[in-house]
Amino acid sequence: MKVRILVSFKDSVLDPQGQAVKNTLHTLGYSSIKDVRQGKVFELELEGISKKEAEKIIPKISDKVLANPVIEKFSWQIIEKG
């Protein structure tokens, strides 16, 4: 089973990288880009575990390991059944 987890700064938190990317794109003339937020993506390959178990584990490790809930939020989805 393959799971994709997206982690990004909460909306209220400053995202310096996203800002820098936006500015670069503007300098290059892409003025239609109003905002850029940059985050991380994790793709996990799981084995020997049921969908139900995965649905329990994933939010846990996202909250504890992959994201820092103080400043980040996460979302996830199963992208490949297995």
């Binding site: 400053l14 800002q19 820092n68 809930p69 103080v70």
Partner: protein
Amino acid sequence: MIDKKIIEEHNLTLEEYEKIVQLIGREPNITELGIFSLMWSEHCSYKSSKIHLKKLPVTGKNVVQGPGENAGIIDIGDGLVAVFKIESHNHPSYIEPYQGAATGIGGILRDIFTMGARPIALLDSLRFGPLSKPKNKSIMEGVVSGIAGYGNSIGVPTVGGDIYFNDCYSRNPLVNVFALGIAEKNKIFYAKAEGIGNPVLYVGSKTGRDGIHGATMASAEFDQDSEKKRPNVQVGDPFKEKLLVEACLEVMAKDIIVGIQDMGAAGLTCSTSEMAANSGAGIEINLDLVPQREEGMTPYEMMLSESQERMLIVAKKDKVEEVQQIFSKWDLDAVTIGQVTEGGRLKVRFEGKIVVDLPVDAIINLCPVYKRESKIPSYLKSETIIKPFPSPENYSKTLLKLLSSATIAEKEWVYRQYDHTVQVNTAFLPGADASLLRIKNSKKALALTLDGNSLYSYLDPRTGGKIAVAEACRNLACVGARPVGVTNCLNFGNPEKPEIMWQFKEVVEGIAQACSAFNIPVTGGNVSFYNDTEGISIYPSPVLGVVGIVDDVSRAVSPGFKKAGDSVILLGENKEELGCSEYLKCVFNMEKGIPPQIDLKEEKRIQEFCLETISMSLIESAHDISEGGLSISLAECSLLSPLKIGFSLAIQDDMRLDALLFGETQSRIVVSSSNQKVKKLLNLAKKRKVKATVLGKTGGDRIIIYHSNKKIIDIPVNEAYKAWKEAIPDIFQVK
């Protein structure tokens, strides 16, 4: 509309609230209450510490600026001044280690360049719980990479610091950061708002809802809910700050601004009211003009926001455009948001209405000052007594064990993550007793060190305070530097507890006595109270930052042995003092006893002597004796030696052997000297009434110590090196 609950939530007492009402002649609105809650917080007002801090000596012929400004300033000659300060960022670093530590660096750097100085060095003093707990490890990992992430990016070298581990820091780590900058003496800037009608400019990053209530958070105890107060933590943007440094220094090089103040804890509130108060003027700003990152922010949120990388500038009336041009060159906002006014009031407009109208004097100068109750702690009775304990059977093993204890082990794992060579000034890399930075185009160098043993301060606060100063100065003496100025960060528990207040009072008294004895002024510092989690307070943890000057950098001395066949000489006297030692803690798991005592006159004599021998080129190396005692210090001289030269020595004194080897008696330095110079050195020692004992010679590849003709320690240098070098990396190794 403002009720008891709201007052409490703002960490103000009812009496304080009443005083506010009385001072302003009416009930404050919520924004005004927020402003008072920030500026009257312990963090900003020093209301519990003020009366004690008065004891510190703050004057001296080199002092250009003592406590009270963003940073202290010392004249270092040749038209230059050193601008330095230390800050704590403890609570944010517990909640979010990386960003907490990173923004701590950002904050302390702003304190330096806001005065017109280019920051040239950072140091960090860290206290964590034992690394056997995964949580402590991850806090340390986060803190170190946060410091690295910010400091490296901005290009200021982190050249030193210190780290201790103790369980009392498990739920309350300490992150103290020190920064130093250099400026021309006649180009210093202050937080002034002079010249009625002069424009007030907001420069740097946009304002968001970051860290609202950070200063009040730093002024309250931690409990289980604190983790939920998390939105308080800000994210740092070192890139923006780098631009801010360059833009500010460029503006300052021209004669176009009147005053400048950084927006740190307490943001717009603090910068506007302090600048006005400093000049007996008023300030009026319009919040609608403030660059904003988020939508729908209220005046309360904007005034209390702690968004990073922002500054407030009062410009000369006709120079605004010039200021803006420079900031725009560096891609930064610089917006006029108000002006200096007559009458000493802070007025804030928002959507056409006046939302704040307060006398700045009330905000800044009329905060209540407390003489809090103090009481001798009851723990002292039991904890200062050491029950009988056996001597080790194998001293070599004990030495290895100490070398690999986290507090003594090599910290390269830490400082390798810090860029410590950028700016091409670093003459001594981390690892020496003090860091050494050459001053370009001169023969001089600055020596910097941080120190503070909190177990000493826990069991004898006054002595702990004295030793913190003495050891820092001794570190400087060992490289050949004369101390010229002190800054300090006092990390304590809740000052409303009388026992904590007593610790505080005593530590400050100790620091004051030592600074007076060494004749060095305190130019500033920081007090961090409320380092308690769930009712448990940290040990009293003073951290002393001392700045020294080496007149001729080519004569500076490093701690490692230089060549085989040199004589190893102990300066100072051994005493049987095992209390509070790393040895007791590490081998017997005892944090007990009274710390070593210190005679400040004798300490001064030893340090002066060390400096004299260095200036006469009589010694090849010098290293002070501190945690782990004589044997550890000797071993370190081998381990820090570029050639890893061993030694064979004999020690004699009549006392418990473990006390002789591992006791932490003060006022001792280990030096090595070429043989033809030994006699001269010993003669001088006699003349200066310093006890100097030749212990033996360097050479070989083993660490060998005899006692009463018996070999009691014999270890290959390589083995000792491995124990010392690999201890911390081993802990962090992913298995």
